[in-house]
Subunit: 350 residues, 3 copies
């Protein structure tokens, strides 16, 4: 159990203590459930009532709201959620593994494993593979040949890296992530399909985190890339030769076909589908379940729907759709009226 004083924590997040800086906390918690030795955060004004009832030993608040919580031990910051996250990381550090290679691990003789690395039970490390300092390979991880894993990485159980894949520093790969399987490419001939060569590789840059069961395929030729600081949720599929930029966020079960480019700082929802050779420009936001046709360029802005369109347009279209029954009725009325007018005119002409 880690114990830290409020004033230490405040320093960590460049905040200011109000109240007793000597208050000790051990754990983070949410406002409602926080108890004696726990710290919680007040996201915004709407949580003030809950906050004042909270039993937390210390609250992280925006400096503007500090006055409204008199008599409490507070850490005042600009961004309470961010401060809470940093404090959480300090109070709940990742499991510490003693540097070691488990006797059941199978490590190629010419592999280069840092002395400070942890290699868990049943891990396999292929020829000429390099594992960086303080990196943790949990049980059942399989690294092929000529793989590079940087420093301070965590590979959770049963992660598989195919031959030649390269991973940066501070990368987290959750259970069963698969990097570098063959891309999906075939050439049709008269008897069936011939596999198109999949002899490229995958580069995962620093500070990437990838959710459980996500698959990133190797390039056919060249490389598939995931840029620095990008975060992928569970069960995302990244096809061969994709180029995903920096600080991109992609939610669960999204599927990205071959040769898609996603530029920096894009935000992609869950279950989105990308046709091949699409390009998402810097900072675009794509809603969950959207579908993007092959070759499409998605410009900055918020996008939605199948096929994808600007959110405004999508909403407007939905509003028209909702009027459809009413439009149908109005159309019928017009026809009736017109029939009557026709009759009148007919009568007049007769």
């Amino acid at each position: 159990m880690t114990q830290m004083r409020t004033d230490e924590l405040a320093e960590l997040v460049r905040g200011r203590v109000a109240g007793d800086g000597a208050t000790v906390v051990e754990r983070i918690a949410d406002l409602e459930h926080a108890g004696e030795s726990e710290i919680a955060y007040v996201e915004n004004e709407s949580f003030l009532a809950v906050a004042s009832e909270s039993k937390a030993a210390c609250l992280i608040v925006n400096e503007r709201l500090s006055e409204q919580l008199p008599g409490r031990t507070l850490i005042e910051v600009v961004n309470p959620k961010l401060a809470f996250s940093l404090i959480g990381a300090a109070l709940h550090p990742p499991v510490l593994r003693e540097p070691s290679i488990h006797p059941t691990a199978v490590v190629a003789e010419n592999a280069d494993v840092a002395l400070t690395a942890y290699v868990g039970p049943n891990v396999c490390i292929g020829e000429y593979t390099r594992v960086g300092a303080y990196t943790r390979l949990e049980a059942g991880v399989v690294l092929g040949a000529n793989v590079t894993v940087g420093d301070d990485c965590v590979l959770h159980p049963n992660v598989v890296l195919y031959d030649g894949v390269s991973i940066g520093t501070r990368v987290i790969l959750h259970a069963a992530v698969c990097i570098g399987a063959d891309g999906f490419g075939y050439v049709r001939h008269e008897l069936g399909y011939q596999k198109f060569p999949q002899v490229g590789t995958v580069l995962i840059d620093d500070d990437v985190e990838i959710g459980a069961h996500t698959c990133v395929d190797r390039a056919a030729l060249g490389r598939t890339r995931i840029g620095r600081g990008t975060k992928l949720d569970n069960m995302v599929h990244v096809g061969h030769n994709c180029d995903i930029g920096e600080r991109v966020v992609i939610a669960a079960q999204t599927g990205i076909s071959g040769s898609v480019v996603i530029e920096d700082d894009a935000v992609i929802g869950g279950q989105v589908g990308f046709g091949d050779h699409t390009r998402v420009q810097k900072g675009a936001i794509i809603g969950s379940k959207a579908g993007i046709l092959p070759g499409k360029i998605v410009r900055p802005g918020v996008w939605w729907g199948i096929p994808v369109q600007p959110l405004d347009q999508y909403k407007r279209m939905n509003a028209y759709l909702n009027r459809l029954p009413q439009m149908y009725e109005r159309l019928k009325q017009l026809e009736n009226k017109l029939a009557r007018i026709d009759e009148i005119l007919q009568d007049e002409q007769d």
Copy 2:
């Protein structure tokens, strides 16, 4: 091979034998392919013709239909499909594993593994983890530290339970299921993303069955829960802090964002997507591929579409959509007619 007499089986399902109760059966089969020592079931009237041709040694039928299969050995019950399922479980019991710990398993010294449990090859069991009576851990299963697995569970190959996860009794987890990976939460700051703490846990209650490759993320704070008797298909994604009730059924590839509540007895199709903080009320039924916007409350009834709407409304809307070409034509005709009338009136006024 298990052999059972028809009268024994009838007793098992509280049915009544018609014909020879001494008939022995060994296997279940479908009506069409069933042979000499096999038992099949007649779901309803529409299968009577096939049933009378069936070579099955014994048929399970609804008592009302019994007379229409003269001369056959029958088990009469209220619900033939249910009786067939129970008889199938009796005739095809799960593989029996001798209680044992395989020499290649890696078990922490302070782990508490029941004497009647089976721990297969290359299984890893972390510190302070508890494995209940008669539980089967198949090859390559990885249990972290402080995990609890109840009695009579089956964990198929390569299942991963992260630290602190708790599983009830009679739970079945299919191959590569992953419980307790970090939820997907980040706080944006000027340089990129800071991981929001994921320090909660997961509770899986009794009699849950989870399909291959499904992932249930741990809570950020607090817990993610899956209630008693709930069944999840393959490749379902359950985000952090979800609360899924009892006897819920969720088909393959459905994705559930963070903090979603699904109440008891809901039925959810495949490839459905849930925005965060949605709530599905008791007994609601949601069709495959539906999309639910964040925060939405889905009331009892049948729901469909993206975004989700009551099935009636969805169907009505689709009917109007199909009329759209016709409406367009009618609109054009009206315009033409009106133009002609305008002319006539013009002429008159001249």
Copy 3:
């Protein structure tokens, strides 16, 4: 490193050399990045400009285009992409594994493993299981009891085959593929759900390739089948009792419910969802993200949308949808005009 002369390669693909047949190449590459000892291909006319700038030692071109690349070493063929694929396979043969059983593998005594097979670290092979000649089982593969794996197969790390599953020859299963988990079937009763028996099996025919993390469930009764030469991408879900024909192609994250039939030579996009008991007829093409209602028959042709419809019809419908705002305006104008005419007629009648 494999080295081959251009004339050898030309023979391999039944092509004709133009230029120096003695030119040696070692690797395939794309036109743009190809260097000294590399071979690239010119897919069609539109790549001629890039081709003439290419530094590749040899180019594969269609015989019609050959003249437009004077002074280059060429291999002339009918289908350059296919020839390139075959040459890629020759220059980049799969990793060769010495026939061996790794000391950490756990092989049942009565299993029948070919002398030429490779059984990697931590592989488990169950009772009465048969592994064919020259087959490669990579680290962590788990084969249950009574499994059959044919000759020349590659099972990548952590593949799981449940008891009784049968795999043909030259089958490639990528990392963590799961074949034979229980199908998703339950019978509702007053207290919850009873599992419907899942005692059938799975047959995978020759020359099938299955992408990482794809799951093919065993049949309830009978068998689930995947036909010869069929290719499945990553994270595809194939439900119990499906019958998938020969040379079918299915892209990533598509989900196929129980008892679906997909006939030979169908092409299915990514994230498609199939209701149970649907049938896709020979040669049908279904676009990504399509949804097929239970029981539907999809005839030959190109299909799109949710629910699926012929592409023509889908496009036409989309065109009408785009006219909806305009239709609404025209409807309003008609109403206004008619109101005015009504007034005129009223005046006349007064």
